[in-house]
Symmetry: C2
Subunit: 315 residues, 2 copies
């Protein structure tokens, strides 16, 4: 049986899997990401690959290695320019792994792989024009345009999280002001909720956080909102507004048939999407705003691994 | 000789040409656009086509008709959804012309045709990833991505002019607030200059406009700026800022090798581009901001006609 050896390198964990041509995971494993040094991260990646290669011997033949990185990756070189949550920058990761394992290696941005996974085995099957947003701590994106993954001329495009939607707005981690990411990500939700509870007389959210504002984070805010907490609901309402602006831009720029939402905030889609879609439809030109579907992605955290397999088998 | 019969329908004039496979115009003509009714506009288009077909008899064989429309066009249907400066909406123009002339007809957005013209016969030859902006009264755009024109799933994408870059900003003609177009187009320049001269003690610009603020428009503002007029220079400086934000978004979203500037404001590129590029480079992620070239398009007003010929001959 042909296998793709797939890795999804995150800021907290590295997920690995042996995946067959039908996207079935034949073996999966996950380890914490060592982030004390570049060497430690690379060593962990190599160790996981070695373990998966050993495991694969009893299952089938490894056709290649696919790796997703949460950052800017030059493609097809597989050169990691930067990865904000990892101690990796300017690293020729594909070359390193090819030399070490003498196998075909593809290294790509994780959101690119996620949209590829959804396109071939998830919510976007047979779609020609799909934009996927990963709404987590930050905002990543993958573009599947005209029937193909679109990466840009050096493979470092599709940075929709750093599209400026409010010039002179709040400072983003990238150094610019008013990026989509700083206004509509998990970090934005936290900032909004923390600001709102400060002036609240009573707050279910603060109770849930055991009185500690510093403990307020995404899943607590969602929980409080579902319990009817005013500030938590207001934070989601404002987040929905910014998400709606971003969706309107995506509809006008790409005119996709489908926009998929994944990442941690997808779990709060009940609190976010209805209002965001309403705003998008009001703002975007016709027919772009009314014809596009906005849905939660199907594959969840596995999308990146499955997309890595697609990339390995496509070659 | 094979000919493409090409039309570029604008709000003030309709340009027509017979173009050969090497992009040479064998015959050109231009008439004012009647805008009193849909019927009048369509009749003028049909009359121009008929005249060009008559003229073509002595030159060569017409392989098809290509028409550029400044508006939202569903492609490949050639159905004009809206065209803000023309009395045309929800019009199956391609179908109408095919039935009338029994020839192959392609109707597309004018900026799509312009980027196609520049890609095959202008500044963007051999480029795979190019974004063209038409900076005129409004802002249009054409996307040539991964070696192909990208139109979106219903052909109505590439509306970069209506990408929101300043949420809750000034009201755009599309009904949304803070679009790229309302901040960085010719109309924006006029608005900025008119606001600035109101509080000025002396103004070369107002002198050039013979004392009438209502007479202030793009080319006068450029003239005044080149004469050192403070308010005109300030208007261009602010316009450059907004153009820089838009360029940064384009660099981050598409990672193109080239961004081409065309339209009326391209004639003021000496007053605009240097600062806009500086701002783009400061804001966009690396390597997207530093690797992209921003240049004035080569074909000027002919780009749309030449692009229409490319479309006809490509089929």
């Amino acid at each position: 049986m042909d296998l793709a050896l797939c890795l999804d390198v995150g800021g907290t964990k590295i997920a690995g899997a042996l995946i067959d041509r039908k996207s079935n995971s034949r073996f999966g494993i996950s380890i914490p990401t060592p982030i004390e040094s570049t060497e430690a991260t690379v060593a962990a990646i190599e160790k996981l690959i070695k373990d998966l290669l050993d495991k694969a011997k009893s299952i089938g033949k490894v056709k290649g290695i696919g790796v997703g990185i949460p950052g800017t990756v030059r493609y097809p070189e597989g050169f990691v320019v930067t990865a904000p949550n990892l101690p990796i920058s300017n690293l020729p990761l594909k070359q390193l792994l090819e030399e070490k394992f003498k196998l075909l290696v593809r290294v790509d941005n994780d959101a690119n792989l996620a949209v590829l996974g959804e396109r071939y085995f998830g919510k976007a099957r047979k779609c020609n024009d799909v934009v996927l947003l990963t709404l987590g701590t930050g905002i990543g994106s993958g573009l599947f345009l005209g029937g193909r993954l679109y990466r840009g001329s050096t493979g470092t495009g599709a940075e929709l999280g750093h599209m400026i939607i409010k010039a002179n707005g709040p400072l983003c981690s990238c150094g610019a002001r008013g990026c989509f990411e700083v206004l509509a990500s998990g970090v934005a939700l936290e900032r909004l909720a923390k600001d709102l509870v400060k002036s609240a007389k009573s707050s279910v959210l603060v109770e849930l956080a055991e009185g500690k504002i510093s403990k307020i984070e995404g899943s607590l805010i969602a929980k409080a909102a579902r319990l009817g907490d005013k500030q938590a609901l207001a934070a989601f309402a404002e987040l929905s507004f910014w998400l709606g602006i971003g969706l309107a831009n995506i509809a006008n720029i790409f005119n996709p048939e489908l926009i998929l939402i994944s990442g941690g905030l997808a779990e709060a889609s009940d609190l976010l999407l209805e209002k965001a879609i309403k705003i998008m439809t009001e703002i975007a030109l016709e027919p772009n705003g009314s014809m596009v579907k906005v849905e939660v992605a199907a594959l969840g955290q596995k999308a990146g691994l499955i997309g890595a397999a697609v990339l390995v088998f496509q070659v």
